[in-house]
Amino acid sequence: MSASKAQAMVTDLLMVDAAPAEDAAALERLALWALRQYSPVVAIDGADGLVIDTEGADHLHGGEELLVSGLINRLRGRGLTARAAVADTWGASHALARLLAVETTVVSAGEVKKAVMGLPTMALRLPAETVQGLRVLGIDTVGQLSTMPRAPLTLRFGTEPARRLDQMFGCVAEPIEPIRTPELVEVAKNFAEPIGAPETIAKYVRRLVGQLSARLAENGLGARRCDLFIHRVDNTRQHLRAGLAKPVRDPARLSKLLCDRVETIDPGFGIEKLVLVAVFAEPLEERQVTSSLIEAEVADITPLVDILGNRGHRLFRVAPVASDVPERSVRRIAATAPDIGEAWAVKWPRPTRLFANPERIEVIALLPDQPPAVFTWRGKRRKVMRADGPERIFGEWWRRPREFQAVRDYFVVEDELGERYWLYRAGDGIDPETGSHLWFVHGVFG
C-alpha cells in the first residue's frame, strides 16, 4: 500500500520512517533478555520474531501454557504487543504465531500436522515468488501442498518447498543456533572420539568448569546461571541449566551442580562436543572472612540451596506480615534472603497446623459470645471440656472492600481426649451483616 493511499483511508495518519537497524538491535536486546529468563537456546527468527527452545525449561514456569501467557503478559507490561505459539517444530510455531489471530497457541506433542493443515502457504517461510507461483497452480494451503507429489514440485520450484514442509512436520532437523554476545564467558571441548559414559562426561564437565572459573576469575565475575550444551554425533543437542542463588566461581560447587544431573543426559551414539556458558554472570569480589574467635560462625547454606533448588524443590523461608488475619500473617521469602530479625508479635496461642480451607462444623453454642458446647467435625462428635475465647479478628477493609464489616470470633477449645482445636464463627453473633454465623475449624494445636 502506498503512503498516499493510506493517508486517504485514515485521517490524521501519523507516518514514521522505518528504522530496520534499530528494530534489529531492539530485537537482539529482547533475545538476550529471553536467554536469561527462559531458556538457554534463544535465537532471532526473521525480522520480527524470536524462537525459544522451551524443552526442559517450561516446568520452571508451570507448564507450556503458563510460560507463553506469562511471557506475553510480561511483554505487554513493557508496552510490547506480541503473539506466541508453542509447537513441536520451529517451522510450525513460526507459522502459528504469525498467522493465527489469537495471542497464545499451544499445540500438544504430535498434533502439529492437524494444526497447520489449514494455514496458507505463506506460513512456510518461502520466497514471495514461490508462494505466488503456487497460488497460480491453485495451491493455497499447507495441507494441499503436503499432498502434492514431490518430484514435479521440486522440478518447478526447487527443493525449498519440500525442505520447508519437512521442517514444519519435523521430518528434517532444524537446530536453533543460539545468540551469543561477546561478553558471555564460554568454554568448549571437542572430542576426537565420541564419548558416552557418564563418568567420562562428568570428568570433562569438571575440566570445563575449571577453565570457566579461571576465565570468570580473570574478569572478576561469578556465575549466576550456567548452561552446558551437549552436541551429539547425530547433530542433535541437549542442554543442562544450573542456576545459583548468589554469584559463584568455586569449581567444586559448580561441577557438583552439573555432575548431579549427568545421568539425565542421553548420549545416544556419542557426544562430540561439550560447551559450557556462563549465561548470567555478576561481579563477585573476594571477601575477607572474619575470625570465629568471638562468636560461633553459622555455616553458609547457599550451596545446599543451590543443589536442592536445581533438583526442582521449592525452597523458601517465612517472614511475618503485620496482619491479624491468620492466613495473611505469613509470607514466603527467598531462602537466601537476608535475615529479617523479627518474629510474630502475637502472644495468643496459635495452632501448629492451619488449614488452607477452613472446614465447616456443626456446633451447639450459646450466642453471642459463648464457646460451643459440642461440635461435629469430620463425622465425629466432640464434647468441649475447656475453651478460651473469643478472640475477635476484624476484616481488613483496606485490602478488600467486602471485608468492611466482616468479623471472626476465634475460640480455642479442648475436647475430652485433650485434642485442641482452633474454631471460629463468621460474624459477631448479633449482626448478620458481619458474617454468616457459620462455624469453622481453622487449625489444630499440638
Partner: protein, 206 residues
C-alpha cells in the same frame, strides 16, 4: 535426643494425620540447637507463628517443599550430608528401612540431627509405625487434657511422650508440658496414678 543420629516422631490418635503436637515437639527440640534448620515436606500446612512461639526463629528455618515423598527423602539426605546444618526435619508418610539407614549414616557422618516427622493419610495407616527402621529413637506424642487453671480456660498443653524404641536403652513414658517460648518442655513431676517420673528421666539421661 542426640546429634548425629536419626529420630522418628509421630503423633497419637488424631495426631497421626495432622502431626500437630509432634511438629511442636520437634520445633521445641530444634529451637534448642544452634544453626540453621532444613524442614522438608510435601504438604505445606505448618503455621509458623505457632512454631515461633516455641522459640524457633523464622530466620533459622529453610523450608523445602517437594512434590513427591521420595524427593523429600532425597532432600533430607542431601541436607544431612551437607554438614553445617543443626537439624534436618522431614515430614514423611513412609520411611522404608533402606531410606532410614541412609539417613542415619548421613547424620552420623556430619553430626547433624535428623528428625523424621511421620504423618499418615489416614489414622488406620499408622500401624506402619511398628515396622523396624534404622532410627536411633522413636517417639510418639499424644495429647493429654491441658493443665488445670483456677478459672475457666485452656491451660498449658500437656502431652504423653512415649519413647517407643531406643537403641541400647529402655523404653519409657513421660508426661510433659508443651514447649515454652524458649523451646523447653517441662517434665510433670508426678503423674496421677503413676510412679515418680524424674528418677526414670535421670536414669535415661545418665
Amino acid at each position: 535426643m542426640g546429634y548425629g543420629c536419626l529420630h522418628e516422631v509421630a503423633g497419637g490418635g488424631g495426631g497421626t494425620v495432622d502431626g500437630a503436637a509432634a511438629a511442636l515437639f520437634v520445633a521445641g527440640i530444634v529451637a534448642r540447637s544452634h544453626g540453621k534448620v532444613l524442614w522438608c515436606m510435601t504438604r505445606p500446612d505448618l503455621f509458623f507463628p505457632a512454631v515461633a512461639q516455641a522459640g524457633l526463629h523464622p530466620d533459622r528455618v529453610v523450608f523445602c517443599e517437594s512434590d513427591r515423598e521420595e524427593e523429600a527423602l532425597s532432600a533430607m539426605e542431601e541436607g544431612l550430608s551437607f554438614g553445617g546444618l543443626a537439624a534436618v526435619v522431614g515430614e514423611l508418610v513412609r520411611l522404608p528401612m533402606n531410606a532410614s539407614r541412609r539417613l542415619q549414616l548421613a547424620a552420623e557422618k556430619t553430626g547433624a540431627m535428623g528428625i523424621v516427622l511421620r504423618r499418615w493419610r489416614r489414622q488406620n495407616e499408622a500401624s506402619d509405625y511398628g515396622q523396624p527402621t534404622a532410627s536411633t529413637t522413636r517417639w510418639r506424642i499424644s495429647t493429654l487434657p491441658s493443665e488445670r487453671l483456677p478459672v475457666a480456660g485452656v491451660g498449658r498443653a500437656r502431652w504423653l511422650a512415649e519413647l517407643m524404641r531406643v537403641k541400647a536403652g529402655a523404653c519409657a513414658e513421660f508426661e510433659i508440658g508443651a514447649p515454652d517460648a524458649k523451646g523447653r518442655v517441662c517434665l510433670l513431676p508426678t503423674a496421677p496414678g503413676r510412679a515418680d517420673q524424674t528418677a526414670r528421666w535421670r536414669n535415661l539421661a545418665g
